[in-house]
């Protein structure tokens, strides 16, 4: 990988760390080493302050009042939408605020799926999907009599493109695929997959929860129909996420939830809908956290998403190098760091990942251990769980070293039985 000296000098990880109050915490007597970013990221002072500022200075309902606060709140909310949209190369009208990526996918499943899928239609998923991009489709498939088809991944942890081509020959109505796997770290070739799926007339939904926080994403260049992601994995508060959908689709789709805001005219029998994207935002939205989402995007853009990607790439290279050299450890996912993004899943051959996480926690190191909401991947890997270290802009090479050194504690507790 090309890393110019100039970029290294510009990327000041200590200055970034100073913006995140929680990184000052000590856990079990040790400085916190937070390596669970794929679960949720920490929040910079700027985002926390934006929430306080909103509640102390601007708080009012949006799209309703004519008073100053209502106008300011509406302006702040819509400006956050514009920032989030611009960050992924979309127009603001194409971005609907949701609670998270899961809700965004459910919105598509219920609003688009119920109206467009019929008995016998095929939905192509992959075995790499998070439960959030499986379960909504199972529910809709059951309601409509549609069939699910899963594309497997190779032993290296990459999408089996031949199997995908075969699945596309059956002319599915929808291909729903993860951009970056939250277990394997694999970056899927979403542009190519979208092109191929469109060639057979399928719509394409991409789950970008692990992609948008870590790498440049341009939905227009990808050409997909739907793109879902969460704010809390990219420095924003919990409870706010977004769905991008092509304008024509949003316009023809029926609403997902009904209520206030999303209507134009309500009569005894029926109602007509507000313009997009408001048509899909029933009730008072999560105004404060949407504004925090906008602030988070500002922060990421200030550092530079390419610079963040490059920084994480260095951490991934080091983690793969060190963990890959341990004889008692199995590392999952592509070997080539260029084909993956920001996280490394691994297992001790003879120690359960819960026990690994427990021992690391005693050293202040936070990793995730479990099935990561990907039981299908777990079954394919023939494990019930894995340990996962996931990185972000504020992590350091030293923290990777602390993690690898602390694995010796695991060996001390569990090693003497020949484990």
């Amino acid at each position: 990988m090309m890393t110019s000296l100039q970029t290294q000098l510009k990327y000041d990880v200590e200055a970034i760390r100073a913006d995140f109050p929680i990184l000052q915490r000590r856990v079990n007597g040790h400085p916190l080493v937070y390596l669970d970013n794929a679960a949720t990221s920490q929040k910079p002072r700027q985002v926390i302050d934006a929430l306080v500022r909103y509640y102390e200075f601007t708080n009012a309902n949006v799209h309703r009042g004519l008073h100053t606060l209502a106008e300011e709140a509406t302006e702040a909310y819509e400006s956050a939408r514009a920032k989030v949209a611009r960050f992924i190369g979309a127009e603001p009208e194409s971005v609907v605020f949701t609670r998270n990526a899961t809700e965004a996918i459910n919105l598509v499943a219920y609003a688009w799926g119920l109206a467009n899928l019929k008995s016998g239609d095929r939905i192509v998923l992959t075995e790499m999907e998070h439960h959030s991009n499986i379960v909504p489709w199972q529910l809709i498939a059951r309601l409509k009599g549609a069939r699910l088809h899963y594309v497997p991944f190779t032993p290296e942890g990459e999408m089996d493109m031949e199997a995908l081509d075969n699945a596309l020959r059956q002319e599915p109505k929808l291909v729903a695929i993860v951009h970056v796997s939250n277990v394997l770290g694999t970056v899927n070739p979403v542009e190519e997959i979208t092109r191929k799926a469109h060639a057979v007339g399928a719509k394409v939904l991409i789950d970008g929860a692990q992609a948008v926080p870590h790498k440049p994403v341009d939905v227009t260049r990808i050409g997909c129909d739907f793109y879902a992601f969460s704010g809390h994995k990219m420095l924003a508060p919990t409870g706010i996420g977004a769905l991008y959908a092509r304008r024509e689709l949003l316009e023809e789709m029926p609403p997902f939830l009904g209520g206030g805001s999303m209507i134009r005219r309500v009569t005894h029998e029926f109602s007509t809908w507000a313009d997009i994207p408001t048509k899909f935002e029933a009730g008072t939205p999560n105004i404060a956290d949407a504004i925090g989402f906008g602030e988070a995007v500002d922060y990421l853009q200030h550092i530079g998403i390419e610079a963040i990607q490059q920084h994480e790439q260095q951490l991934t290279v080091e983690a793969l190098r060190l963990l890959g050299a341990e004889e008692d450890i199995v590392v999952y996912g592509p070997r080539d760091p260029q084909r993956r993004c920001g996280l490394v899943s691994f297992n001790f051959k003879h120690v359960h990942p819960h026990d690994v996480a427990q021992v690391l926690d005693a050293r202040g190191i936070a990793i995730r251990a479990g099935h990561h909401c990907c039981q299908i991947i777990m079954r394919r890997l023939d494990v019930t769980a894995t340990a996962r270290a996931s990185f972000y802009l504020y992590n350091t090479i030293e923290e990777i070293h602390t993690l690898v050194e602390a694995l010796d504690d695991v060996r001390k507790v569990f090693g003497k039985y020949g484990g």
Binding site: V351, H352, P353, H354, D355, Q358, V359, D361, A362, A369, G370, H371, Q375, M378, T384, A385, D409, K412, V413, F414, Y417, G418, G419
Partner: protein, 139 residues
């Protein structure tokens, strides 16, 4: 280092040398337990003669705490009547959840599980085998 309260010697010993692990082909009572939070799976097999549990085995995959707890369970309930097993089950559950209970002797392996109650996330691991037993006994 990690608190020795959790990873007591006896727990690690049961984990690495589980007492009655593997299917019991002539079991007349079985149940499967799962911890959806972590994906741990466990099958419990019992053979009863009238009211008495004459054999108990378990199979499955899980962390040291869930496996050690299952191993201790199979050892502890052999030879008990169903009512005695139910009483033991309640006693272990009370110990793990910090409710009043008759304490276990120090030389009883089950006493080693008491350290788990300080780790709320791991209580479910220790309980898995016992809630699976509960399912069988209340069928």
């Amino acid at each position: 280092m990690v608190d020795d309260e959790l990873y007591r010697e006896i727990i690690l010993e049961h984990y690495h040398h589980p007492r009655y692990k593997g299917a019991l082909p002539d079991a007349n009572l079985t149940a499967e337990g799962m911890n959806p939070l972590c994906g741990d799976e466990l099958t419990l097999y019992l053979k009863t003669d009238g009211d008495r549990i004459v054999e108990a085995r378990f199979d499955g995959r899980g962390c040291s705490i869930s496996q050690a707890s299952a191993s201790m369970l199979t050892e502890a309930i052999r030879g008990l009547t169903v009512d005695e097993a139910k009483a033991l089950l309640e006693r272990v559950k009370a110990m793990l959840t910090g409710s009043p209970h008759e304490p276990f002797d120090e030389d009883d392996d089950l006493s080693a599980l008491e350290g788990v109650k300080k780790y709320p996330v791991r209580i479910k691991c220790a309980l898995l085998a016992w809630t699976t037993l509960e399912e069988i006994l209340h069928k």
